[in-house]
């Protein structure tokens, strides 16, 4: 999360983000919808794409499904077991895991991409409709929460 006090020269984007933060703090229970995890393919991180009834009047089904499916794809990319992850694992083992002190793991890189994507979605699609999404990492990857502002 970026700082809560925006720089004066940053213009609209920072002020908008600051507003998003304020609005987030003031949300209460009644305004939240939680999308739970989908474990049908094992323990990999996936969220259910079933459209919740509470959001029916707020957002189009296709937009919601697109967002959740893109998030699922990002997580699948982060957790993919393939050549790059083996290389990372073996390199880490060979350096007695000291390499994690200087290098960012692939998962962390993808998490940054996800955070950027969620912010972008919030600004372009959800805030105009009076909704906000929280990044699942802030909820221990248990839920994607939508709340009304």
């Amino acid at each position: 999360m970026q700082g809560l006090v925006p720089a004066a020269t940053d213009g609209n984007m920072a002020t908008e983000f600051h507003n998003l933060q304020e609005l987030r703090h003031s949300a209460s229970l009644a305004n939240k919808v939680f999308i739970q995890r989908d474990y049908s393919e094992g323990t990999t991180c996936r969220f259910q794409t079933k459209f919740p009834s509470e959001l029916e009047s707020r957002i189009e089904r296709t937009l919601f499904e697109d967002t959740v499916k893109t998030l699922n794809n990002y997580y699948a990319e982060a957790e993919k077991i393939g050549g790059q992850s083996y290389l990372e694992g073996c390199l880490a083992c060979a350096t007695a895991y000291l390499i994690f002190l200087c290098m960012e793991t692939r998962y962390e890189k993808v998490l940054k991409k996800i955070a950027k994507y969620i912010q972008e979605q919030n600004e372009k699609i959800y805030a105009p409709r009076g909704l906000l999404i929280t990044d699942p990492i802030e909820r221990g990857m248990r839920v994607v929460s939508f709340f009304a502002v």
């Binding site: 982060a78 957790e79 077991i81 895991y97 909820r139 248990r142 929460s145």
Partner: protein
């Protein structure tokens, strides 16, 4: 479990009260606090949240001192003799193994094993709302299990009363640390921490390298004593002669630890190859001996190599508990109070659900 008594969460008590927020502002205005300072589990934190340990870590110093003392004796007493009579590579190999063992051990002990943060009150109330849809006024605790399909196999998810959430598959609640840990293997007192998803590979490399180290030291000490006896003395004379006395101590330590460590390494190699956890193996969750149900392990890739690679060389998941993050600043909310913000339309709709 101590916290088994379930307390229902009253959704109406959860709305943010501006007056209480302002009280907190005054108290917390002095210093921004990090999240580890208010962590609810039984863990200890060092270096401002960078290092995490279980509260009871009494045996970790013992493990470390056993390793360091044995290796110290090895380098002090065996190496000079063996370098003279055999090769200079002996202390080099010993040194590399020792460094690897200590680093793996510290990495296992100080890494977050995959602790799941507890559910926020909002989420917990949402879960309750979904379960208790009958709307009866008499309170009853939510059902403890939920069944889901994983790879066409039925798996039961249990509800954790402490963390107030349905545990993901392969997650278990450690009563010693009072946390739910993902892919929970076991709580290791020697390491002073739980072994779970994030530190299983470090634990595995620790026991494998420790097996090599103990076998190596054992072999070197035997060689040392043998070489001394070849100089025309009996074994007893060779041992009594200082400095060969100390290698005998190493021999004893290595002899007793080799059996347990080699056994443990073998057991964990089997677990890695079949993509099981110690917890599942002990409970016999996927054992085909239980009844006529077709219960194989739904997480296995059905190939030893893929299982090993997935468990040990898979991607490194991030820590979910954000130890060093700062607690939300209540003072960061400026003069905007709740009364100025319009009540959003959601409230009306959901109130109707709650009242029924």
């Amino acid at each position: 479990m101590k916290n088994c008594e379930y307390q229902q969460i009253d959704p109406r008590a959860l709305s943010v009260l501006p007056s209480s927020a302002q009280n907190h502002t005054e108290k917390k205005a002095q210093r921004p606090r990090r999240k580890w300072e208010v962590f609810p589990g039984k863990n200890r934190f060092f270096c401002d949240g960078r290092i995490i340990l279980a509260r009871q870590n009494g045996v970790l110093p013992l493990t470390l001192s056993l390793i360091i003392v044995t290796c110290g004796l090895f380098f002090a007493f065996d190496c000079p003799f063996l370098v003279k009579h055999l090769t200079v590579f002996i202390p080099v190999i010993g040194g590399v193994l020792f460094v690897f063992v200590v680093l793996s051990l510290l990495r296992t002990s100080f890494t977050d094993p995959g602790i799941l943060p507890r559910a926020t009150p909002d989420e917990a109330a949402d879960v309750e709302k979904q379960i208790d849809t009958s709307g009866s006024s008499t309170y009853r605790p939510p059902p403890r299990t939920k069944e889901i399909l994983i790879n066409q196999q039925v798996v039961k998810l249990k509800y954790c009363f402490t963390c107030k959430t349905f545990r993901p598959p392969r997650t278990s609640h450690c009563s010693l640390c009072d946390n739910c840990v993902e892919r929970f293997d076991h709580h290791c007192p020697w390491v002073g921490n739980c072994v779970g998803k994030r530190n299983y590979r470090f634990f595995y490399s620790f026991i494998i390298s420790l097996s090599f180290l103990t076998s190596f030291i054992f072999g070197c000490v035997i060689t040392h004593i043998t070489l001394r006896t070849q100089a025309g003395k009996t074994i007893v004379q060779a041992i009594q002669e200082s400095p060969a006395r100390y290698p005998f101590l190493e021999l004893v330590v290595c002899f007793f630890s080799i059996w347990s460590i080699l056994g443990l390494s073998g057991f964990h190699t089997y677990l890695v190859a079949s993509n099981l956890t110690t917890n599942e193996d002990i409970k016999g969750s996927w054992s085909s001996k239980r009844g006529a149900e077709d219960s194989g392990n739904p997480y296995t890739y059905n190939s030893i190599i893929t299982n090993c690679c997935a468990t040990l060389c898979g991607p490194m998941p991030p820590s979910l508990i954000d130890r060093r993050g700062f607690l939300p600043h209540d003072e960061a909310i400026p003069a905007v109070s709740a009364s100025e913000i319009e009540l959003p339309p959601f409230t009306a709709k959901n109130d109707a659900h709650m009242v029924g």
